[in-house]
Symmetry: C2
Subunit: 466 residues, 2 copies
């Protein structure tokens, strides 16, 4: 018996309807990236495990998909190792490659490897799938697309501003209301410093990240569990409860950090970004948010996150400044900043809000019904002319029952069906049926301009009355 | 010390220049597919090994990239199996998933799995990478893109004609001179039948495929080695040496196959396709070629291959009719036909012939030089207006030395640089430098229409004389 087909859990097929909608998102994002001078690159799906391991923390290493070596994959593994079943050691010996986990580490690797071919500041975007062996759940997949845009080789804050402008423009075009949350890793470092727990910064940022989710009290409890003493937690409270608009918050923070050089630097950076953004009159609100921490450890300056206002779906875009991402591959002092658009989340938001523009679904403009060999050949010639005029045209391949052919047009949402039977051929006309209204009219075959007007401008009424 | 970065052998990074050129090829192909009513689908990079194994022959199974199971990957493997080092058995136990090897088998799996959501005849295209653990060599990679277009659920020969039209149109648009080789698997089956060696058809097609490469004599020797007797080889000779134009060849074959029903059917199919194609007056020559066999075993009717005339690079597109591809997944009587454009080969041909249109390389239109904080803010506002008018615009992020900024524009092939220093701000003008000619002119800041004309239409002379 034939096997029942299925796909690996956490992965997805995309039907035509889904694919054109996804492409609409990718195309919109790409257009904006290009408008700001960013150029595309692509990297291989497989990277050497050397490149990937140790870059995403211990948890990340576990989530890497590893590729079994070709040929005798056990050749490097001795009997002792096998019988010990040391999974870590064995997997390193039988797998040299893994699927990329994000686009950031491959980008850093790319920049270092191609540094002599690139022009710095290097502005690139990259839209490719990534793979993570995460437990699949709603909105989280094992294969998903990232749309990354980064500029590397410049520490100017204008790059941060530009990325905020790009976010603003992308979501304006996609018609999604969003708010941009902004913070700075230097501010977070200053917080850790002030409470005398510089080495606890990772714990603190992870905890701060949860304030919105689990509340202040639970975060305090968690910080205690993570080894902060009561005194330190006490000192954190005024920072957690800072309030007002961006300017108010910046003023309060300036006071709190007046003796911290890193804190003062962080506040300066935030102030500059916010002031330039205000000057540029963006549509999107930028909100200073101290609870924003972002998990990744390589961020050193500004960090951003974008949330859709009208849905419960969380972050749909995020990123930040990293001062030494390429250092791991031997290229130092290459500061960069970048953001990643979560195409899958954006797709979910647009689906939930039902805001895909109608044109996205545009299918075939014109279907010629097939009445048999001679008629079909005649229609193929007409179809050729219509296609040369840019109209998406099909000739139904089989001379099936008309009902079946009409049902095909219907299911495929084809707006106009052309009927050319023996009678029409003889009289040199084409009968056109409007699939929405059911109306039919006949036009002279050679009048392609008229056909075009009907299809492109849906000038049905005009035509009907002519 | 930091590790020296590299990528797995047989894989490639694509720089901005290469990526935009590749995208040009993908976009051109996509536009033509859409013009004929084909819609896109996407499938996951990883398929269950059940889906892939046994579909590409024994050799193909070896070339599959397998993904190590997550977690305790040895949990299904006992000590005995491990110490036996039975690679086949172990790899089946430690890997459940593999990377897709082509787009055809995933397409068949997709059609069966989603049969109730699809409208038949189902016309789909799919442009995604595939992976093969082949020995890397010139023009052959371990990761490469396929651009497949198929129609399934119709056995009309008009589908074959349509695919030939698509080939014709794609290569006309890409400006590549090609010839389409056409044959039919039924004709090949008839050949095997006539010489009384029906079970040897695979051997014969593989041998025929080599006539052009190694010559008739060597092929005869090879057929002998493969177990054909002299009598059979003798009978093959008139078929191997058939000559003339398509019509001549068809006439000779009709005579040869007059007692073979499958041969007669094959000739009928070929005649129909060739006659309709002639009627449609395609640019591309379609050549009946009995030496065309194509390796894949699932073809049952027409087979095609496209060769670029002006280079030595082999086949750049190929495909054929398959009557039962979905049968392996439990859906019978679903005849289909499809072709696959080899994007990497097409890229190589276009690079060798240097025929990428200039517009493909279009980069940023306009770079504002950065003279410092105030000037940059002023330029950011001007840049915003230009971007709103669709011009790709950058503001250099740092107030580096002008020489460095000009060199950036130069290396990035940016045609126009806008200079707005203190003086220009005061006088409300923008000085524009044409990077090709070195000429400079000043225009009033608000005259964005003029800026636009300069950039879009390169109306430099007109402007200069105004």
């Amino acid at each position: 018996m034939a096997q029942k087909p299925s796909i690996p859990k956490g992965t997805r097929d995309f039907t035509p309807d889904e694919t054109v909608k996804r492409n609409y998102i990718f195309d919109t994002i790409t257009d904006v990236f290009r408008l700001y001078g960013y150029m595309p690159i692509e990297t291989p799906a497989m990277e050497n495990l050397n490149t990937l391991l140790g870059k995403y923390g211990e948890e990340g290493d576990k989530l890497l998909f590893r590729i079994l070596n070709s040929g005798d994959f056990l050749s490097n593994t001795d009997a002792q190792t096998l019988s010990n079943r040391d999974l870590n050691q064995i997997s390193r010996q039988i797998c040299e490659k893994g699927l990329r986990y994000d686009l950031t580490v491959p980008f850093a690797r790319f920049v270092v490897q191609h540094q002599n071919e690139l022009t710095f500041p290097f502005k690139r975007y990259q839209i490719q799938p990534v793979w993570r062996a995460d437990r699949p759940q709603k909105g989280r997949y094992r294969e998903f697309f990232q749309c990354d845009v980064d500029v590397i080789g410049s520490d100017s804050l204008l790059n941060e501003v530009e990325l905020l402008q790009i976010i603003d423009e992308v979501f304006r075009r996609l018609n999604i209301n969003v708010v941009i949350k902004l913070n700075n890793r230097k501010v977070l470092a200053a917080i850790a410093e002030i409470i005398g727990e510089s080495d606890k910064i990772v714990d603190i940022t992870i905890a701060i990240d949860k304030i919105e989710k689990i509340g202040l009290q639970k975060v305090n409890e968690e910080l205690k569990e993570r080894g902060l003493d009561n005194n330190a937690i006490e000192k954190l409270q005024p920072i957690f409860t800072i309030s007002g608009n961006n300017e108010d918050k910046l003023n309060q923070l300036t006071e709190i950090f007046k003796n911290s050089s890193i804190g003062t630097k962080g506040i300066e950076e935030l102030s500059t970004i916010i002031s330039v953004v205000n000057d540029l009159e963006m549509n999107t609100k930028v909100e200073l948010d101290l609870t924003l921490a972002r998990g990744l450890s390589y961020y050193t300056g500004a960090i951003f996150e974008v949330k859709a206002i009208d849905t419960e779906i969380g972050s749909i875009t995020g990123g930040g400044r990293y001062d030494d991402l390429t250092g791991i591959f031997g290229l130092n002092q290459m500061s960069g900043v970048g953001i990643s658009f979560g195409a899958d989340r954006i797709f979910d938001v647009m689906t939930a809000l039902n805001i895909f523009p109608e044109k996205v679904n545009s299918t075939t403009d014109f279907l010629f019904v097939n009445f048999g060999k001679n008629e079909a050949l005649h229609c193929l010639k007409l179809a050729k002319i219509l296609r040369n005029r840019g109209l998406k045209t099909e000739v139904y391949p089989d001379s099936d029952k008309i009902k079946k052919q009409m049902s095909y047009a219907d299911k495929k949402n084809i707006p106009f069906v052309a009927i050319v039977g023996e009678e029409e051929m003889k009289n040199n006309i084409v009968t056109i049926k409007n699939m929405k209204t059911g109306e039919q009219i006949s036009v002279v075959t050679e009048d392609f301009r008229l056909l075009e007007r009907i299809v492109v401008s849906s000038e049905w009424c005009v035509v009907g009355s002519e």
